[in-house]
């Protein structure tokens, strides 16, 4: 029952994280920043806007994207197979990419393309992290993974690799090419408005939950360590966001492959020997 409760609350939780991040980022830039509940104000406002649609399929795919992400997060809370969860997440993103491509808008299409590139950049690393968990815990199931501990000492490089790709997932500098506000005005989300944009907006909350739950897993059975890791990572990602510019999409893939994949690979080979 509590699991169901948390699944229902997942967007709210993610919204709080997002709101907190906006406040934190503002503070790092010495601004006052928006209130903590700002994401929810935005959500309620978007519900009340007149909605403009390019075509039905485009709009509905955004909704499907959100729902699939929600299922993914739900599967995480239920402690299901991590590999399946990563692929389900891939599915959600592909739905978004198809949506982005399905309109004749240049920015949307470039955004969708960058989304695909980002997918290429982080997906192997994410899967390697999953494999790392498997090698250590002997199971892909989150429930089993959480019974062991000491991941951090066994897979430090995998954790670093996860840190490298984390900004891609939460759309933060230096890897926020997908959003690329100054270049492509938000990319995939550019043609969404009102009611349907809300789903994309909330999907972002779920992405936070998704990627930070990976960080949490590194704590293993020690939940406190996991929570500490999440908070530390959260602050670190925002610090890096405040200290770097956006790199190009090609550079992102290069960095991700040359650095994150290499780190992950070394760690896995090291675990094998």
């Amino acid at each position: 029952m509590t699991t169901w409760f948390w699944i229902v609350m997942a967007p709210v939780l993610g919204g709080l994280v997002y709101g907190g991040e906006r406040v934190l980022r503002a503070r790092m830039q010495r601004r006052q920043g928006p209130p903590l509940l700002q994401p929810f104000y935005d959500m309620f406002k978007l519900m009340d806007k007149r909605t403009l649609v390019i075509h039905s399929a485009h709009a509905l795919l955004g909704v499907v994207h959100f729902l699939v992400l929600w299922i993914t997060v739900g599967a995480i809370f239920f402690g299901w197979n991590l590999l399946y969860i990563v692929f389900l997440h891939l599915f959600a993103l592909i739905v978004l990419v198809i949506a982005g491509y399905s309109v004749r808008s240049v920015f949307s299409q470039i955004g969708a393309n960058r989304e695909l590139l980002a997918l290429v950049a982080y997906e192997p690393v994410l899967l390697l992290v999953t494999v790392g968990f498997y090698l250590y815990a002997g199971s892909f199931y989150i429930g089993d993974i959480l019974h062991h501990s000491g991941y951090l000492s066994q897979m430090p490089l995998l954790f670093l690799a996860l840190l490298v790709i984390l900004p891609i997932k939460v759309k933060k500098s230096p890897f926020d090419v997908v959003e690329g506000h100054q270049e492509i005005v938000g990319g995939v989300e550019v043609e969404y408005s009102g009611f349907f944009f809300e789903f994309l907006y909330m999907a972002r909350f779920l992405e936070y939950i998704f990627i930070y739950s990976f960080v949490f897993l590194f704590g293993g059975a020690d939940y406190w360590l996991g929570a500490l890791l999440v908070i530390g990572t959260f602050i670190l990602v925002n610090l890096v966001d405040n200290a770097t510019a956006r790199v190009r999409a090609a550079d992102m893939v290069k960095i991700s492959y040359l650095l994150a994949l290499l780190l992950a690979g070394i760690n896995i080979v090291w675990m094998l020997t």
Partner: protein
């Protein structure tokens, strides 16, 4: 949904368009986003995308070149929307009034809700204007608002409302 209307003023997202101003007001809008004035504390995000916009900040008397774009952007903003004319030349034409390539103020083309004075309008004035715009935003309903000129009409095709031709080209005006 009366209850939801109160959130409009807590999260106004802005779109900024320069319809031929001298840059003065534009850099002041930028300054208003900077840490000193920090518009984000009102929940304001500079989306740069008309489809997710609530407040349309326009600067500049409308030059002939930018008329179509102004109306096009306006017609792409979903209702409820508020137009804020920032600066003297946007409100009334200012010093450019009567010059051959400008229209005197943007209210020749689109309905303006708030006129912000000043040349250039300082960030304080812009904030004042936005605060006034917020109270207007809260009261608006969701009926379609039309531009005054270059309005091509709204078609109903089947049950769908088509805004595809809402903004027209100059040549097609008749």
């Amino acid at each position: 949904m009366k209850w939801l209307a109160q959130f409009r003023k807590k999260s106004p997202w802005i779109l900024h368009y320069n319809a031929g101003s001298c840059n003065g007001c534009d850099i002041e809008i930028l300054a208003a986003l900077s840490p000193r004035f920090d518009l984000e504390r009102f929940g304001i995000v500079n989306t740069g995308n008309p489809k997710q916009t609530d407040i349309f900040l326009v600067t500049g008397p409308v030059t002939f070149h930018s008329r179509e774009r102004l109306v096009e952007l306006y017609s792409q903003i979903p209702e409820p929307k508020v137009v804020v004319a920032v600066g003297a030349c946007t409100s009334t034409g200012g010093v450019f009034r009567g010059m051959y390539n400008v229209e005197d103020g943007i209210d020749r083309y689109i309905p303006v809700d708030v006129y912000v004075p000043g040349c250039a309008a300082s960030p304080q004035l812009i904030i004042d204007g936005i605060v006034q715009a917020l109270s207007i935003l809260e009261k608006k309903n969701k009926a379609i608002e039309k531009p005054f000129r270059l309005f091509g009409g709204i078609k109903r095709i089947g049950k769908k409302i088509s805004r595809l031709t809402m903004a027209k080209r100059i040549g097609e005006e008749k």
